[in-house]
């Protein structure tokens, strides 16, 4: 069964450092997403991406965050200057463009970010 893959599975970084989280969405999906989950909290929407541009972003997704699809397969989330409160599990997800599954998210296993 097709899956969304994410790397790294766990990253530890110092406050103020830049972090890039990588994702390979399902190959025939056209919408890509980043969600995050702070330990013990809800899964929260960060950003959606379609046709090489941001479709929508939440208030969490401030100027410190950016997303990119640098090639035909990878989808990345960059945090420019990490803060302690960025420590969370970050999930990449993808959906088809249209059809019954257009809002059914297929999530990756997540990247755990720990900011010290």
């Amino acid at each position: 069964e097709p899956e969304v893959t994410q790397t790294p599975s766990h990253q530890v970084t110092q406050m103020g450092q830049e972090v890039i989280l990588r994702c390979v969405p399902i190959s025939n999906h056209l919408y890509f997403y980043w969600y995050r989950q702070i330990l013990g909290q809800k899964v929260e929407f960060l950003v959606s991406f379609y046709n090489n541009e941001i479709s929508e972003k939440s208030e969490i997704f401030d100027d410190q965050f950016s997303v990119e699809r640098p090639d035909g397969s990878n989808f990345t989330l960059k945090i420019r200057s990490t803060k302690l409160e960025d420590s969370a599990m970050y999930f990449c997800a993808s959906t088809p463009y249209v059809g019954a599954g257009a809002n059914v998210l297929t999530f990756g296993a997540g990247s755990r970010l720990t900011v010290l």
Binding site: Y31, K42, E44, F45, S48, Y50, T95, N103, L105
Partner: protein, 114 residues
């Protein structure tokens, strides 16, 4: 603001019994509602979607109901097994949001004891 509440943080049941999880929402009229399963340290996995014009949806041992008058969905697992132990999340498409912009409940952690 739109809210989703899953009333129980945790539910402990005996193997073989039926687990019933509740999801309530406010300030919202969703066209459909989704349920996901999340295992510790993993991403959510889609289970079922039920539309506003469907009263009930089934998939193997899973059953979901959707009452738009009560603004509530119930998620049932019949003949529960220890392998069903996980956190179950309900989710709605954010009103006015774009595709894939879901609001998740905090989840109910189900523990099925042998």
């Amino acid at each position: 603001s739109q809210k989703i509440e899953q009333n129980s943080e945790a539910l402990n049941i005996q193997e073989g019994k039926t687990a019933t999880l509740t999801c309530n929402y406010t300030n919202y009229s969703p066209a459909y509602l989704q349920w996901y399963r999340q295992d510790p340290g993993r991403g959510p996995v889609f289970l079922l979607l039920i539309r506003e014009n469907e009263k009930e949806k089934r998939k193997e041992r899973l059953k979901v109901t959707f009452d738009t008058t009560l603004k509530q969905s119930l998620f049932h697992i019949t003949a529960s097994q220890p392998a069903d132990s996980a956190t179950y999340l309900c989710a709605l498409l954010r009103g006015g949001g774009s595709q894939g912009n879901l609001i998740f409940g905090k989840g109910t952690k189900l523990s099925v004891k042998p």
